[in-house]
Symmetry: C2
Subunit: 391 residues, 2 copies
Amino acid sequence: MKEETIYLDNAASTKVDERVMEAMEPYMLETYAVATSDFAYSMGIEAKEALNSAREKIADRLKGDSEEMIFTSGGTESSNLALKGAAEKLLEKEGKDHIVISKIEDFPVLNTAKVLEKKGFEVTYLDVDQEGFVDIEQLEGSLKDETILVSIQHANQEIGTLQDIEKIAEICEDHDVLYHADATHTFGRVPLDVSKIPVDMITLSSHTIHGPRGIGALYVREGTPLKKQMDGGFQENNLRAGVENIPAAVGFGKAVELIDEEENERLEEMRDRLIEGISSKIPDTVLNGPRKKRTPQNANITFQYVEGESITLHLDMRGIAVSTGSACFSKSLEASHVILGIGGDHERAHGSVRFTLGRFNDEEQVKKVIEEAAEVIERLREISPLGKGGE
Amino acid sequence: MKEETIYLDNAASTKVDERVMEAMEPYMLETYAVATSDFAYSMGIEAKEALNSAREKIADRLKGDSEEMIFTSGGTESSNLALKGAAEKLLEKEGKDHIVISKIEDFPVLNTAKVLEKKGFEVTYLDVDQEGFVDIEQLEGSLKDETILVSIQHANQEIGTLQDIEKIAEICEDHDVLYHADATHTFGRVPLDVSKIPVDMITLSSHTIHGPRGIGALYVREGTPLKKQMDGGFQENNLRAGVENIPAAVGFGKAVELIDEEENERLEEMRDRLIEGISSKIPDTVLNGPRKKRTPQNANITFQYVEGESITLHLDMRGIAVSTGSACFSKSLEASHVILGIGGDHERAHGSVRFTLGRFNDEEQVKKVIEEAAEVIERLREISPLGKGGE
């Protein structure tokens, strides 16, 4: 049964590519030493070479230097390190205490900012428009002498909106403020060139691109003031302690290597077909996020008069895995802060469904999803207490 | 060549057991969803069940409850969470600001304590005796009304000394002070029963027992005051944010399942043979740590008049991987703080070699290691500038 599942929740987690697993295996079974030549034996040196080669592959994709790439346990840790690390360092060094983020950041940035706020930092939460774009003028107006850092995501986790990070980075540079971008949902999928765009820190994730879980990275431009958050050993340029997860780093490197432009174009085509198919076959739908400036893999649609939770349940019974915009990583049934952030009401938030494409999806699956969704929505509306069905 | 390496550095990292890898695979290739039923599809529910089953296996080994087991990215993160989490919480709640650790803690505890000291906490560093045992009277005398937490390891990372944690836990309980034990080097190898011993928090690691890297856990007794350190989502009982590393958690659970008493006895026999063989065949050696009350897998020996670095290099050329006590996770050539802590001088520290046994070592290997070590030491002493050879 699992074999047949049409999995469209690749934003939360992806199937690991078998070639990634093959790449990892030797570092679990053969070259399993820690990455150090300090122990003075050759297996450690080989392990270190593998780690650094993975580091280079990942840095190359951003046109950065491998020494600017810090491995972490995942995107959550990367964003924690970026925000807390810069905030603590610049409060200590220069007495600065102001942070700017967008209202629709993912939880690692949003909740880290809230924790810093409780500790006494001032946080500005920037508004976004109906498609999820940050108000550039408001951003510029919010910056002041005390501003440490701006953290605005490259793309949104739910609605796929691609921010104009070139513009954002330029403004931050002009104001001498650090810029951190959460690129969890764009790394590998949408180009980002740090040799041209002055981003200072970038959160990267592996499990969103068919790499292993438990590994991520933070790109840290040389010279960026940053205080270590995980204390212990002196690994990762003395910015992140802990025995290096070499098998996962190697897998992450392989995952990056396996993504090419062709694949991203294929995802974009499937995304467009999915959006057009659903919009034309199913009445009363709203596309959340912009039509074009969105990640190639994301479609997020509100089906009016129906709850997202019911849709995912019914699609699951038909072998299709998607996610709702509500209650995402929260334990409560709170409405998505992203849909509310773009001006949607609770009903729109609760009726939203996120479809995220990945390498292992194909056109046939997209066709099937459109058909099944049309049936499910029709039936649910017939019994819906939210209006339409009762007419 | 790698096939033939005799690997005796199982304290730093172990070969992953193939049965562990087999257990992990389905969670990378089939049931790869995030661990939530919030998304309302069945793959997420299956993933959650796998995660909780792993959690139970690990908790069972300590006779704890699975809800008291928090997955982290490894032992380093676990110890960071324990120390910083308790310190921040009890400073905030009760104005307490004092921490007690031993001088020979591993870097995650030692350096986290130093960071807390810089932030204004008072830290007492307890002395240890010549075998590495904490001075129990000094411990008791150090506790005061302001004491938040005592962090004393179950066993030492370099010399294997097993502390009397029953006694330590009792004292902490009597004084109403939290007790955290780093059990990175004992979990699975030396029993620890939280239903009998009142330890509040325990750091656990997977990669030391033939499980995957990138995963660890912190046992947190119910009701322990603790402030979350990794902010973002609400995973792990809202004590550690980040998409759960289910394949690694499953692998960790399997690794725990695979250890039995028989294996630990076998390691202990090999350890004794190694210590006796080296002591009898090679003159001028010093066993670091106690003869009996040490972990079953650890032997740490100083070879006088020779540098540890040279020994590891020469053993490596003969296909034997061991580690020196010096420069362990540090980038510098500092002498081991453990050997200095037990009263050794720099020479003793630099001449120490740590042999750590694991599942894949056997009696034949131990015999070979003794023979090769004897030859290496003899040759090195002939050319040593440190004395002996020139006589």
